[in-house]
Amino acid sequence: MKIFKKILIYTLLGIIVIIMIFPFVWMVINSFNSEESIFKIPPKIIPDKLFKKDMFENYITVLRDYNFLRYSLNSFIVASLASIGQIFTCSMAGFAFARMRFRGKTIVFALLLSTMMIPVQVTIVPEFLLMMKLGWLDTFAPLIIPSFLVGTFGTFLYKEFFENIPRDLEDAAAIDGAGPLTMFLRVFFPLSIVQTTTLFIIAFMNNWNDLLRPVLYINSTKLMTITMALTQFQSQYSARWSYLLTGAVLSILPLLIIYIVLQRFVMEGITHTGLKG
């Protein structure tokens, strides 16, 4: 009876794994296929370029000839700067909400939480107008600055953490002559290494995956992010599935590596706050 139940559970777990990751596996397999072999019936389980001399031909073409190396780098710059910004903004706000008393605290916090519920499309038209007036169209600034300064998830994460630090630590630091800024930078912020890592990963993923802002603000080919480049590629060369799939693999590979190495932080961050950015 016990063994029967175990078999049942593993079968179920296995079926769901296939449902959840097979599309990606199939995509990776076919990124080693030539264009003709992708649409063969019956489908080829072993791709025709695997372990051949031109095994990475699709990858080389996409990275070099279609500039995906450049787009990955752009995404990396945008996502890194935006995430560092979120750490800066959210850690300070979290500290203020957790340790300080001031009039209007609940109102500001409630406003911050409620704006999280509003899709970015509601505010995007005036935001576009603002970016236009600032002369920031076709630069990285509109991709970085809004995300830099707005971070409900991060603020929540830091607030929860800083609230649970014993007051003695604050007292000790103050008695040793630390002002608010020193106390934050030298005592509280260094303690939040787990929260900081979590926020960095989640903010990085969200910014890496963003599509709307790049589509609106970026015109020059050399400034495109990888998600935007993929959609452009999709509409221009809709027939080249081998390259499109390779591009898609390249766009999720960095995130997948970060996720596999640091998945504990991602899961725990979500479990603690229930939010994902």
Binding site: L13, M20, W26, T89, M92, M116, T123, V125, T155, I252
Partner: protein
């Protein structure tokens, strides 16, 4: 408790720490919200100076038969998504909550689609679902001898398919939320029920579900918010087509503002979206007291 204690900080310290957040809040969230409401009463098109047109945009919107469809699409997408992620998320959580070896691997695997971009997900599913040559139809035609539809090419199937793809992508996230809730339920309740002779089935309905209700409410709220964020998947999979069958309010804002450059009209659409979200959120919170119980 802290209220009576003295503090090392002055109120202005707090405001200094909040400068970046407040800047973001007012410049990129609240300010644009107010600005959008004003713009929705104008005919601004980027080129010419905006002119006040009163309620014209809203009148045009309500008399346009396409908008009835867009609003229905929005609700249909949300309904499929919310119900789907709750049922599927809970099922996944129940399965990965069992104490078998290697279960953390399965948790991580189920979460994988969440971390990938909607663009990559859209491209993969476009390919798998393409008519005749897509793997799904190849299997259905050759193994099961069926004649499946062109999933993304037909008005009758396309919206459901896109919503299901999004639900597939996100269910791992809801699994984690439910899992946290499940692990918070004290084990003694199950032990007590077992001693009283309750079956697993009974304990699920009589213990798990009622005690999980605060989590379910939270998940429900998050899922509703999330269900409107469908721009990326629609942009990559269908571009709102065929003939508006997958145009939702969120997508319609984008098309009107940045394809047709009707900024004023797009702002009116954005406000309809805001009102829809507002109404649903209020209903959600009003109904809360009838099914959520916080006491163990």
């Amino acid at each position: 408790m802290q209220k009576k204690l003295c503090t090392w900080f002055r109120p202005y310290h707090a405001w200094l720490f909040l400068i970046p957040t407040l800047l973001g809040l007012f410049v990129f969230r609240l300010g644009p919200m107010v600005a959008a409401s004003i713009l929705s009463f104008t005919n601004w098109d980027i080129l010419a100076k905006p002119k006040w047109v009163g309620l014209n945009n809203y009148q045009e919107l309500f008399s346009d038969p396409i908008y009835r469809e867009v609003i229905i699409n929005t609700f249909e997408f949300s309904l499929i998504y919310v119900i789907g992620v709750i049922i599927f998320g809970l099922l996944l959580a129940l399965i990965v909550n069992s104490k078998v070896k290697g279960v953390t691997f399965f948790r991580a695997a189920y979460f994988t689609p969440v971390v990938t971009s909607a663009v990559a997900v859209g491209i993969v599913w476009n390919w798998l679902l393409s008519p005749h040559y897509g793997l799904v139809n190849v299997i259905l035609e050759n193994v099961f001898k069926l004649s499946p539809p062109a999933w993304l090419g037909e008005r009758s199937t396309v919206l459901v398919v896109v919503a299901v793809v999004q639900l597939w992508k996100m269910s791992g996230y809801y699994m984690i939320l439910f899992l946290a809730g499940l692990q918070d339920i004290p084990r003694i309740y199950y032990e007590a029920a077992q001693i009283d002779g309750a079956s697993k089935w009974d304990s699920f309905w009589k213990i798990t579900l009622p005690l999980l209700s605060p989590t379910t409410f939270f998940v429900f709220t998050i899922a509703i918010i999330d269900s409107f964020k469908n721009f990326e998947i629609i942009y990559t999979m269908t571009k709102g087509g065929p003939s508006n069958a997958t145009t939702t309010l969120v997508y319609s804002v984008y098309v009107n503002a940045f394809v047709f450059y009707r900024m004023g009209y797009a702002s009116a659409v954005a406000y309809i979206l805001l009102i829809v979200i507002g109404i649903i959120t209020i209903i959600n919170f009003l109904l809360k007291k009838y099914w959520v119980n916080y006491q163990y």
